[in-house]
Symmetry: C2
């Protein structure tokens, strides 16, 4: 732990992921209310910081949430880094606690289905192709060619994650699909179909992080953040050195594992950023879960053996992808897994978990290692 | 310092504050370029985090700035808390360094003259009165009544700060005004005139913070952040317990002074958030620089003796107020003062400085204490 203070996760709240047309303030408050309802022992006066993760254009959301939730924090601001906002916010919360500036931090993420973070406005190199599906398609084409992967092999990512989402009561999807269903879904680009894509949605997730000293006074079921890795390689995906691996994910994964004194074989359960089906095998390879080109083989084996190790809540494809809430929802899932509190999604004997989140064609990534 | 790692400011860059209609990305890059031009010894590879402070709606600005400036940071995200964004970002940078997650952090703030942060959309209690001038007017009315202060006494804030801004080459204003000029300027509300107000503008400011260990390798003129205080009381100004004092400023000031083991009499020079003239005397009182109701007397004495102690760069009224850049520009001014590098604005023998920033009718405040 590099002599840092330990930081624990002691409480969480979440909303169902939907297509609801509600104001961002209401969406945001809902998961924080859920958190306090589930944890009546937490004193709002102990909360030193409120960090809001979102791509919404509304301003001053942290003081607004604080006022609505009855909190008067010292530190209050919003954090944005597209899809990676939630995990950036959790790392920021970690730093406030480890630095001694805060003992208890609420991180609340929320997004509406029509989030402006879903359109990539800045990268003129892509001309009119501003929707993320265009970079994902280029990844898919490159990955399939380099490792001789079929569309059906990628489709299995969606099949597996929808199956797992069926056990997640907050997921936007409760349907299961076959490989043929995915192949028959609307072809959006040459290489990707509708069911290869995560869906924009409305949702919120909140989490409370605390210092080690404070944890002991509140709970004995805390989960600890023991590894953090982050890397930004660029903003535009045309700067990526490879389109069939994720360099920022590789760097972030190595840093997080090193900090926690773990290697990838120690990870029992992981949340992987599968905004599009092709992302999951590439991320598994870049993190070292599988050899290069063998990510889809690993996914098939997990599917065949009904093993929920990767994306137990159904990933972004099955759960939905409310950008600012996603990294927090991923972290909540791993927390539940390590607390043996994941119901039908539970992975046996999960002691060490990993969260992988990223933005914009993996131009930036965050990896967290969590332990019970 | 509560056993925290020390954090130093080793470099800064700034742009003139103008009414230019430039893209936010260009505005942002300009002060970072200025920083690197002035500090060619800084190795971009050493930068672990890039934090962008802005109210602009553009997303992913930290990776965009990083790519344009040739940086590949670990941590990269934007921070928003209205006018208080810049100082929130500096405190976040401090926490990343003090926690050990980063050794060197670039904080870059930027805003355009048409920032969406200038309209307060969330507080329905104010009906159609969404521009900040409406809360400032209520403050002015309350403050003038409670302490028998005249419009002319408030006008002197503007006279003083415009005079001081004339010595600031980056200020939007280079004109001086008399009390009568302020009184004769356009009456915008019953209690405030045009020259009582800071102006929205386009501008950018960047700063680099580093760990103590790293400081020694780069410079011997670092300025140290030794005190930090922050407080959020609410989001809506109708929740303020007083309209002629600033409760969040009082709390933040007390925390910052305590952390730095200083009292207010030790402060040689200060940047105070004077979005409107009435803010300066109220903030001086809430920070303890003067007794209640005596802030304008202090301002008159400083003006009469040509003492630049308060808002040497001209404050927000004289310099302009590019929201996300303001807190960083304030911190740069105090850094220059403590380095005896403030030219005609220099306050004699300045050893300890203070930065006060706030948002939305002082519903949240940040106070920093800096030492050389």
């Amino acid at each position: 732990m590099n002599n840092m203070n330990k930081v624990g996760i002691i409480a969480y709240g979440i909303t169902p992921f939907t297509k609801e047309d509600k104001k961002i303030e209401s969406v945001l408050l809902k998961s924080t209310k859920n958190l306090f309802e589930n944890n009546p022992n937490i004193d709002r006066n102990d909360i030193d910081a409120v960090l809001v993760s979102t791509n919404n254009n509304s301003k001053y959301l942290s003081p607004i949430l604080s006022e609505m939730a009855g909190i008067q924090p010292k530190i209050a601001h919003s954090i944005e880094s597209l899809c990676n906002s939630g995990t950036n916010s959790i790392v920021s919360a970690y730093s406030y606690i480890a630095s001694g500036l805060a003992d208890m931090v609420l991180v609340a993420g929320a997004e509406r289905y029509d989030s402006p973070g879903q359109i990539l406005e800045w990268d003129n190199s892509r001309g009119e192709f501003k929707h993320p599906i265009f970079w994902a398609s280029i990844f898919a084409k490159s990955y399939k060619r380099e490792y001789s992967i079929s569309d059906e092999q990628l489709a299995l990512v969606s099949v597996k994650n929808h199956k797992q989402a069926k056990e997640n009561p907050n997921a936007i999807s409760d349907k299961t699909y076959t490989i043929q269903d995915v192949m028959n879904s609307k072809k959006l680009t040459e290489d990707l179909r509708l069911l290869d894509c995560s869906r924009p949605c409305t949702g919120s997730a909140s989490i409370i992080l605390v210092s080690e000293e404070k944890v002991k006074k509140i709970t004995d079921t805390s989960v600890w953040i023991t590894g953090i890795g982050q890397k930004t390689t660029s903003a535009g995906f045309t700067k990526n050195t490879s389109l069939s691996s994720m360099e920022s994910t590789k760097a972030a994964g190595q840093s997080a594992l090193k900090m926690s004194n773990k290697d990838i074989t120690n990870i029992d359960v992981a949340e992987i950023h599968d905004a599009f089906s092709v992302c999951e095998p590439i991320a598994l390879e870049s993190l070292g879960f599988s050899k290069l080109g063998k990510g889809t083989d690993m996914i098939k084996e997990l599917y065949d053996t009904n093993n929920f190790k990767i994306n137990p809540r159904g990933g972004l494809i099955g759960s939905g992808h409310p950008l600012g809430a996603t990294g927090i929802a991923q972290t909540i899932e791993i927390t539940q897994q390590l607390q043996s509190n994941a119901d039908k999604r539970q992975v046996d004997d999960a002691k060490v978990g990993l969260v992988h989140n990223m933005s914009a064609a993996a131009t930036s990534s965050t990896v967290l290692v969590l332990e019970k």
